[in-house]
Amino acid sequence: MIICIILLPIIAGILVPLLPFHKRCHKEIFLEGAVILNSILVWYLLLHHSESTFLLAHFTGDLNISFRVDGMSMVFAGLVSGLWPFATLYAFEYMTKEKHENSFFLFYTMTYGVTLGIAFAANLLTMYFFYELLTLVTVPLVMHTLTREAVLASRKYLYYSLGGAAFAFIGLIMVIVYGNTTDFILGGVLDLAKIGDRTNVLLLIYVMAFMGFGVKAAVCPFNSWLPQAGVAPTPVTALLHAVAVVKSGAFAIIRLTYYSFGTEFLRGTWAQTTVMIVVMFTIVYGCSRAVKETHIKRRLAYSTISNLSYILFGAVIMTPLGLTGAITHLVFHAVMKISSFFCAGAIMHQTDKRYVHELNGLGYRMPCVFGIFTISALALMGVPGLAGFISKWNLAQAAVDSQNPLAYGGIACLLISALLTAIYMLSIVVRAFFPGKDFDDSSLQDAHDPNWKMLLPLFVFTVFIILFGIHSQSIVNFFYDVAAGVY
C-alpha cells in the first residue's frame, strides 16, 4: 500500500510526456485524477494504518529501505497530500503562460511521491535516500525557465542541498554505529553504553547533521539558495519551497532530534544551545532580509526562512511540548505560506508585476486575491483568531515551559520576527489597498481576479487558516499525542 502510494505519482509523472494527450484538458484531468486518487489513498492509509513496518529492500548489513506510518508521518503525509491536489489545480492555470509544460508536470508530480517517501520512511537511511532524491527531482523544476538566473539558482540549490546532505550523512553514520537501530523510535536510539566518553564528539556530529539537514530548512548561514530558487514557477515556489522541500528539511531535523539522537541525550547540552542560537538568529535574520527585499516572491521566501526556523525553534526546545509547537507550526505555516505564495503567483500571472512598489492600488482590481493575501498576512503575523497565533502560542508555551533561559530569548525573537512580519506583509497590503491620494488606476484596467482554478485553492486555504485559528483544539491535541508518541 505504502509503496503504491509513493510510486503512483512517480509513474503518473513519467506517463505525462509519454501519453499522447489530444487536448490540454485531458492531461489536466489525468494528472488531477492521479493526484486526488493518491491523496485519497494516503488519507485512507492514515486512517487505517497499522503499526507494522513495510520492508522494501535490504541495503547493506542491517540497513534497509522500509516504510512505516507513525505520528510524524501522519502529520507530514496528511499535510502534503492535502495541499497537493489544490496546488496541482493551481498549476494548471499558472502554467498556461509557461513553456515546457510536460517536463514541469513530470517532475512536479514525481515530487509528490518522493515527498511521501520522506514522510513514510521508517528509518534514517530510507529518509536520507528520499531526501537526496527530493533534491534531484526538484532541481529541474527550479531550472525550468532555463534562463541564466534559473540555472544559477538551481546550481546553488544543488550545491547547498547535496552539501548539506553530505553532513547529514555523517549524522546517519553516527546513528548507525552508536545506535541500536536506525529505525525511528521516539526518544532516540542511541546506545549510551556504546558511546562511553565520546559524548562531545557525538554532540558535534549532531550539530553538523543539524546544519546539514538545516540546509533544506534554510537555516542561516545556509539559506541563500531559497530566495534565489524563487525564479521557479510559482506553484513550485509555493508548494515546494514553502512546504514540501523545506518542510522535509524541518521534518528530517525533527526525526534526527527526537527519533534518532533522542532528546534525553541532547537536552541541556552545548549542542542544544548552539543550534538554538543559530535558529534564533535565523528567525530574526530572515525577517529583516524580507523587510529589505522588494521582489514579492523573494520577500516571501525570506519570510519562509524565518518561519522555518520557528519550527526548528520548537524542535530544538526538545520537549514534547516543543515538538507539538513545531508540528503545529509545520502544518499551519504550510497553509498560510502556500496561500500567500499563491496570491503572489496570481498577481504575477495576471499582471506580470513582481515588485512590491508596483502593487499600488491593485487591491481594488483584484479584491479576492488581495483579501486572501491580507488574511494570510495577518495569520503570519499571529493575529489571534487565525492559524498563526495558535502555532506561535504553542511554540511560546513550550519555550516558557522548558525553563531554558535561552528559550525565553527565543520567544523574544519570535515576537521581533512577528513585528517584522507585520512590516513586510502589511506594507504590501497597505500599498494595494491605500495607494495614496493621487493614484491613477487607469493603468490597471486590465488587471482582474484570476479564474476559479486559481481562486478555489486560495479560498480553501483561507478557510483552513481561519478554521485552524478558531478551532485548533482537536488538531493540536492530535499533535500533542503525536509528540507524546501515542501513534
Binding site: P367, G382, I390, A399, I411, I416, L426, G436
Partner: protein, 489 residues
C-alpha cells in the same frame, strides 16, 4: 442568542459590508446607514450593559484558552465613553468628511473600530483582550491614513508598527503569565500565585515591566509615544477625536486589566517596576506638556496634550492607591470627553477656516463664538479648574498620590501634576485669548460669522455638557465605583 455579542458583531459586520460592497453609495444613503448603525450600536451597548447576562464563553481557541466575554464596572465605564465619543464623532464626520474621498471606506473602518472597541471593553480574559487589541490597531490605522497623502500614509504605518510593537511586547508577557496562572480570566485583585521574591517572581516582574511598556505604547507613554503626535494631525479630525478620546484609552484599559486583574496590585506594589512605571508616567506628563506648549500646530498641540494627560491616568494607576485609581478612572472619562471635544473643535476650525496653526487664528472667537465657548469650557476642564470634570479627577489623583505608599514620588507626583496643569493652561488658553481678544489691529469689518454646520456643533456641545456634568456630579460615578475599587485594591 448571545446578546453580548451583538454590539460587537453588528458594527463589525456592518462595516465589513460597507467595505466589501463594491459600488459607490449615494452620500445621503451612506450617511444614513452609517448613522443608524452608530445609533443602533450605541443602543445595543447600553441595553447589553443594562440587561444582558454578564459573561459568555464563546468558544475555545486552544484547550484552555476560551474566547470569553465578561462585563464589569470597568467595562461599563469604558464602553459608555466609547459609545458617546463614537456616536458624536461619527455624526460630526458626516459634515466633516463631505469633501474627502472614499468616505465609504472611512465609515466602514470606523464602524469596525467601534465594534472592536466594544469587544475590547467586554473582553473577559487576556487572550480575548489581546485579540481585540490587535484588531483595534488593524481597524484603526486605515482611519489615520485615510486622507491618502504620503504624510498620512507614513503616519498610519508608524501608528501601526508602534502599536504592533507594543502588542508583541505584551504578548511576550502573556506567554509567561499563562504558564504561571491557571487561567487568564480577569479577576479583581489578580490571579498570580507567585511571590515577587521567588526566582520566577523576579522574572515575572520583568515581564510585568515589559507589558507595561508594551501596552503603554498605545497609551502614549514615554519612550514609545512618538507615534501619537504624528498620527493625530494626519488623521481626519473625527478620527483624531475617536483616536485620542477612546482608542488610546485602550492602552489604559489594557494596563488596568493586566496590572489589577492579572498581576494584582499587591504583586507590584513597592517593586522596582512600580518605581520605573511612576517615573516614566511623570516624565511623560511633564514632557508632553512641555512639547505641547512649544507646538504651534493646533492638532499637534492637542496630540501632545493627549500624551501628557494620558500619563496622568497612568500615574493614577501606578500609584496603586484607591483614590488615585479612582482619579485615574475619572480622568479617563473626563479626558475622553474633553479631548474628543477639543479635537472636534479643531476639526471644525480647520473645516471652516482651513487654518491649522494657533497663531493664525486671531479672532476666531468672534467668528465661531459657540465653538470657541465650548473650547474654553473644556480647556478649563482639562486644566483642572472647578467645577469641571478635570478638577475632580485631578483632585483624586493628587490625594491618592499624596496618600500612596510610593516614597519620594508622594511629593514629586503631585508637584509634577501641578506644573503640568500650569503648562496646560499655557498651551490651551492662548487660543481662547487670541480668539476672543484678537488685539487692536484686528479688522472687525472682515469678520463674518461662520459657525459650522449643526452636525458639527451639536456633538461638540453635547460632549462639552457631559464633561461639565462629570465635574458637577462626580458622586454618581464615585459612588458607583467606590465599592468595586476597594475590591480591587
Amino acid at each position: 442568542m448571545y446578546p453580548i455579542l451583538l454590539p460587537i458583531l453588528f458594527p463589525i459586520l456592518a462595516g465589513l459590508c460597507l467595505l466589501v460592497y463594491r459600488k459607490d453609495l449615494e452620500r445621503k444613503l451612506l450617511t444614513g446607514i452609517t448613522g443608524s448603525c452608530l445609533v443602533i450600536t450605541g443602543a445595543l451597548v447600553i441595553s447589553v450593559l443594562a440587561l444582558a447576562k454578564k459573561s459568555l464563553i464563546l468558544f475555545y481557541l486552544t484547550e484552555t484558552l476560551p474566547i470569553y466575554f465578561q462585563i464589569d464596572e470597568i467595562s461599563v465605564i469604558f464602553s459608555v465613553l466609547t459609545v458617546v465619543v463614537f456616536v458624536c464623532a461619527g455624526f460630526f464626520a458626516f459634515a466633516y468628511m463631505k469633501h474627502e474621498q472614499k468616505e465609504k471606506r472611512y465609515y466602514g473602518f470606523y464602524l469596525i473600530a467601534f465594534g472592536v472597541l466594544n469587544g475590547l471593553c467586554f473582553a473577559g480574559n487576556l487572550i480575548t483582550f489581546y485579540l481585540f487589541f490587535e484588531l483595534l490597531t488593524l481597524s484603526s490605522f486605515p482611519l489615520v491614513l485615510h486622507t491618502g497623502t504620503r504624510e498620512a500614509i507614513m503616519a498610519g504605518l508608524k501608528y501601526l508598527f508602534y502599536s504592533l510593537c507594543g502588542a508583541y511586547a505584551s504578548l511576550y508577557g502573556i506567554y509567561f503569565l499563562y504558564r504561571h496562572c491557571d487561567t487568564l480570566t480577569f479577576t479583581a485583585g489578580g490571579i498570580l500565585q507567585a511571590s515577587p521574591a521567588s526566582p520566577d517572581g523576579r522574572f515575572l516582574l520583568l515581564v510585568a515591566f515589559l507589558m507595561i511598556l508594551g501596552f503603554g505604547v498605545k497609551a502614549g507613554m514615554f519612550p514609545m509615544h512618538a507615534w501619537l503626535p504624528t498620527a493625530h494631525p494626519a488623521a481626519p479630525a473625527p478620527a483624531s477625536a475617536a483616536l485620542s478620546a477612546v482608542i488610546v484609552k485602550a492602552g489604559v484599559l489594557a494596563l488596568i486589566r493586566v496590572i489589577y486583574y492579572i498581576f494584582g496590585a499587591d504583586f507590584l506594589r513597592g517593586s522596582w517596576v512600580q518605581t520605573a512605571w511612576l517615573t516614566l508616567a511623570l516624565v511623560t506628563v511633564f514632557m508632553g506638556s512641555m512639547l505641547a506648549y512649544r507646538e504651534p500646530v493646533l492638532k499637534k498641540r492637542l496630540a501632545y496634550s493627549t500624551v501628557s494627560q494620558l500619563s496622568y491616568i497612568l500615574f493614577g494607576l501606578a500609584v496603586m492607591d484607591q483614590d488615585a485609581f479612582m482619579g485615574g478612572l475619572l480622568h479617563v472619562l473626563a479626558h475622553g470627553f474633553i479631548k474628543g471635544t477639543l479635537f472636534l473643535i479643531a476639526g471644525a476650525i480647520i473645516f471652516t477656516t482651513g487654518k491649522t496653526r494657533v497663531d493664525e487664528l486671531h479672532g476666531i472667537g468672534k467668528e465661531m463664538p459657540l465653538t470657541m465657548w465650548c473650547y474654553t469650557i473644556v480647556s478649563l476642564g482639562l486644566i483642572g479648574i472647578p467645577p469641571t470634570g478635570g478638577f475632580v479627577s485631578k483632585w483624586y489623583l493628587a490625594i491618592g498620590g499624596l496618600a500612596g505608599d510610593i516614597g519620594i514620588f508622594r511629593y514629586i507626583g503631585p508637584a509634577v501634576l501641578l506644573i503640568s496643569a500650569l503648562l496646560t493652561a499655557g498651551y490651551l488658553l492662548p487660543l481662547t485669548i487670541r480668539g476672543f481678544f484678537p488685539g487692536a489691529d484686528y479688522d472687525y469689518n472682515a469678520l463674518q460669522k461662520r459657525e459650522p454646520a449643526r452636525l458639527m456643533t451639536i456633538p461638540i456641545l453635547f460632549m462639552t455638557i457631559l464633561s461639565v456634568l462629570i465635574g458637577l456630579f462626580p458622586n454618581i460615578i464615585t459612588d458607583y465605583l467606590t465599592k468595586f475599587v476597594s475590591s480591587l485594591l
